[in-house]
């Protein structure tokens, strides 16, 4: 009986199944399989080639006692904090300004968003040039008369990560502005009318009425920014190559360098697993809040 049933089940809707083969392969082999593979091999002492000789948590112990990794994590935290705070604040302020029924709104939006079309490599190289101490902003200001003026973030290891953040903000705030603007446009005009009738000043309306109403937009934006922060790689490669010294290293670069240059695969796998862990820490609570809550409510 089951013999006659089975082929029937399998071949029903066959074309749709064939069309979904790439998705199924990607989901199972690359996303699930690849991730499981990397996590598994992070517990081995693979060097040049992946080998299954387990050493427990040794790679993680080494990782967390390597100064380059600690610098990377510290940089990621600073870069992340700056990206989150400034892109949210600047993005929202720009969106609020554009939302004042102004003329040439499209022109302004086009200008604020164009850097987002450029790659991180192009962004990094432009800002490397602008921040070049011998030719860039520092030189120009010195030529104006302030000879002791000093602004060389890319050559000063204590502030290099801020120099990278400047470029990242230039590239990314346009996107945040667009998302915020879409959020602002989604708010009922009557809210504004009511606030005006009650004589509430505009900034108070924004702060206490509009922003709380835009909570979903803020959460989506937050997730987008957070996911982008963990992945930061090309920008650093283009702007400083991790220098001066190891002052602007980031975790994604650590992973790449250990996998493909230092021929220390185990370290690379352990570091990438830590990156995965950090994403899980951000995503899981968000997914729980967004989707878990609805089911119960």
């Amino acid at each position: 009986m089951s013999n006659s049933e089975r082929p029937n089940q399998l071949f029903r809707n066959l074309n749709a199944k064939i069309a979904s083969i790439p998705m199924i392969l990607t989901a199972l082999v690359v996303f699930v399989g690849g991730t499981a593979w990397t996590v598994l091999y992070s517990f081995t002492n693979s060097k040049l080639l992946p080998r299954l000789s387990f050493v427990g948590l040794d790679q993680y112990h080494r990782l967390w006692s390597t100064s380059r990794w600690l610098v990377s994590i510290e940089n990621l935290l600073i870069y992340g904090a700056i990206s989150l705070v400034f892109s949210l604040v600047i993005g929202f302020l720009l969106a609020a300004l554009l939302d004042q029924k102004i003329r040439f709104e499209d022109t302004f939006r086009t200008i604020f968003l164009y850097p987002f079309a450029l790659s991180f490599i192009v962004t990094g190289l432009v800002w490397q040039w602008l921040l070049n101490p011998d030719f860039g902003v520092q030189r120009v200001v010195r030529d104006l008369g302030w000879t002791s003026f000093s602004f060389d973030p890319l050559y000063n290891s204590s502030i290099v990560i801020y120099g990278i953040s400047i470029a990242a903000l230039w590239q990314g705030t346009g996107l945040i502005m667009c998302l915020m603007l879409a959020g602002l446009r989604g708010i009922d005009e009557d809210i504004w009318k009511a606030a005006r009738v009650d004589g509430i000043p505009a900034w108070k309306t924004y702060l206490f009425i509009i922003i709380p109403m835009m909570r979903p937009v803020f959460i989506t934006t937050l997730v987008i920014i957070a996911a982008g922060i963990v992945k930061v790689y090309d920008l650093v490669v283009a702007q400083t190559s991790g220098g001066p010294g190891i002052a602007s290293e980031v975790p994604a670069k650590y992973v790449y360098d250990y996998m493909f240059f230092a021929q220390n695969l185990g370290q690379g796998f352990a570091a990438s697993t830590m990156m995965l862990l950090s994403v899980v820490i951000v995503i899981v609570p968000w997914a729980y809040l967004e989707f878990g809550g609805k089911k119960r409510g």
Partner: protein
């Protein structure tokens, strides 16, 4: 361009009414509020335009002028030599045929990647929207969750897979990688679009005896051209701008433009030619910039969709 509409006041007013922005009404043209508003916007706009301006100006100067002058001043003598050099003779490692090599590599990577990824994702999204089978949603959820996994976790297993098949280091390998990582967002895009189309259309076609591919090719495809354009914009800019996959999955002679650009500019050998570097940088940014300025509103739609992938 996106801002053409705002040049004619009538169209502008119409569009604004339709969009229905909030905020207080504008009063006098030269009120304090307007001066503050436009002043701020113009200053910020100048800041955003500054790097583009400096790039262009620097690329048109000769090296002696760069050493003497200030990066913001316009060139005294315009020269196109840096552009020619960046395109045709700049060196990366042993190759001295300029960025043109990287440009053509990027074209050969981007075109098939865009076509393949969109073909796969659109058929897939259509299957998910109209031909659901048992377990389809589970795979789809894995796919979407997978989009949030940092690429670094998956790059090495993919190296092994590609090496086993024998295409590691080739353009084919990179095309497949781009198709894989474009899949979550594109599938989501197409699935949502096809789901929003009227169910009756699909049923009517079924009654008329059309099958899976027939409905896709004759009904779904012609009716969803806008979403295809959005997907193309998203993929062309995304794949053209990619650096990580390019550097991992290709060899020096098949490097895409971004990787080659980085090698030209950040090479430690030789005298730094900033004008050539900036010309090369503009050349690399040109393709996505053109896509951006031509597509206007559709680009915004694309990134709003693309933003979901994080």
């Amino acid at each position: 361009m996106a801002d053409v509409a705002s040049l004619s006041p009538g169209a502008d007013a119409l569009r604004r009414d339709a969009a229905g922005p909030s905020g207080p009404k504008p009063r006098h043209v030269l009120s304090r509020r307007n001066i503050f508003l436009y002043g701020t916007l113009i200053v910020v706009a100048l800041y955003y335009l500054l790097p583009l301006y400096v790039m262009i100006v620097t690329s048109l100067k000769g090296m002696p002028e760069i050493r003497l002058g200030n990066i913001f001043s316009p060139p005294m003598e315009i020269t196109f030599e840096p552009w020619v050099k960046a395109w045709a003779t700049a060196c990366t490692g042993l190759n001295c045929d300029g960025l043109s090599r990287g440009f053509w590599n990027s074209v050969r990577i981007t075109v098939p990647s865009v076509l393949l990824s969109i073909a796969i994702a659109s058929v897939n999204g259509y299957a998910l929207a109209n031909w659901r089978f048992k377990g389809a949603d589970t795979f789809f959820i894995i796919l979407i969750v997978g989009a949030f996994i940092p690429y670094q976790v998956m790059i090495y297993p993919i190296v092994i897979i590609l090496r086993e098949i024998g295409i590691y280091g080739s353009l084919t390998g990179l095309v497949i990688v781009h198709s894989i990582f474009g899949m979550p967002i594109l599938t989501l895009l197409f699935r949502n679009y096809f789901t929003s189309m009227p169910e009756e259309l699909f049923r009517a076609a079924r009654v008329d005896g059309a099958g899976f591919w027939g409905i896709y090719l004759r009904i779904m495809l012609p009716m969803s051209l806008p979403i295809f354009v959005v997907a193309i914009i998203l993929q062309v800019t995304g794949i053209w701008n990619d650096f990580l996959f390019g550097v991992v999955y290709t060899r020096p002679d098949t490097y895409p433009m971004t990787v080659q650009l980085n090698n030209i500019v950040n090479s430690v050998q030789g005298v730094k030619e900033y004008n050539v570097n900036m010309a090369a940088t503009i050349l690399t940014g040109l393709v996505p910039l053109i896509v951006y300025f031509v597509s206007g509103k559709l680009f915004v739609r694309g990134i709003a969709a693309g933003a979901v992938k994080g």
